[in-house]
Symmetry: C2
Subunit: 194 residues, 2 copies
């Protein structure tokens, strides 16, 4: 019971930290700011979390673990390669819409991780990119996809889903579902009519 | 004769400044660093250029003027909308490959422009995006493009060409021409075979 409460308090601190890091930058956020935001004394917050870089690591690795485990599940499904790539595009968009601040921190502030965490995070990102690239490659080999350069296809897809953060505001003119459908149309089927 | 020499010296200073801003950041580059890089005394550099923000503005507006004038030329050509979009994608890639540091400064460091230059630059960017969007919209109206959301198509294309800076190194595995052809395939024709 006590343990559960401690874990959820910790999660609350991590969630508020992600919002502050996103709004003020990692360097611009102090542990004191964070305690104020969470409504705790700095001293009692240290019962839950020891240091700012521990918070950063928790946020970054929660997101990278999520991407990697979802990639594993999607790769293992018995569907076409097109459907797997579509599922990954939807995953990126849903995470951005539902877990925006943490995704933003994992995208931008990972570079402030201290070693060896920094190296581990870069490795995790590489693992994800390689797994994503392998699906594109397999789709080309299966004759499902056009014989494009795999890196160009990979980074075109990743840049499209990453840039959403900068221009998309949920619910204004376009729902998350419409956003997904339109990005999938452009990337999988192309802008030109056949 | 003297005037020509002054202009080209000025251009040399601007080119070296773009490289320094890209490598060390705008804030991390001093006029003294720049004078050292160009091989001039700081005092004599001030004959050509008065302040760091004047340099930044010259770089940013040279790039935005170039994009806007090229967009005008491409829009006016008697070709299909698909060919116009392809020409714009090629323009982005060529500028990035041939004029990389200045493009990078215009993409990232414009936010350090002082007002009213900052507002003017944002306006120029909006003008460009609107013109690009108008071509997509006209292509949809003409039945040449799929009936996608114009903002999604616009930002998917712009993010793809902007992210190239982060992952592409000219000449390694992929020439600039191959890069152009592959990005055009993904964005205009789609990853999936029809």
């Amino acid at each position: 019971m006590v343990e559960t409460k401690k874990i959820s308090k910790r999660q609350l601190i991590l969630d508020e930290a992600a919002k502050l890091f996103k709004d003020r930058g990692y360097g611009g956020t102090s542990m004191r700011d964070l305690a104020g935001q969470v409504g705790m004394e700095a001293a009692s917050m240290y019962n839950h979390i020891k240091a700012k870089d521990e918070i950063l690591a928790s946020i970054c690795f929660r997101i990278s673990d999520l991407y990697i485990s979802q990639l594993g599940e999607i790769s293992a499904t018995n569907t076409s390669y097109g459907d797997k790539i579509k599922a990954l595009i939807r995953l990126h968009i849903r995470l951005m819409v539902e877990d925006g601040p943490a995704v933003s921190v994992a995208n931008h502030d990972w570079k402030y991780l201290p070693e060896p965490k920094l190296g581990e995070f870069k490795q995790a990102r590489k693992t994800y990119e390689k797994g994503f690239a392998a699906l594109i490659e397999a789709g080309i080999a299966a004759g499902e996809f056009q014989p494009v350069n795999v890196s160009v296809a990979l980074f075109t897809i990743l840049s499209a889903v990453r840039w959403i953060e900068l221009w998309y505001r949920p619910g204004r003119d376009l729902s998350a579902e419409e956003l997904e459908a339109n990005i999938i149309t452009v990337l999988l089927h192309g802008l030109e009519r056949k």
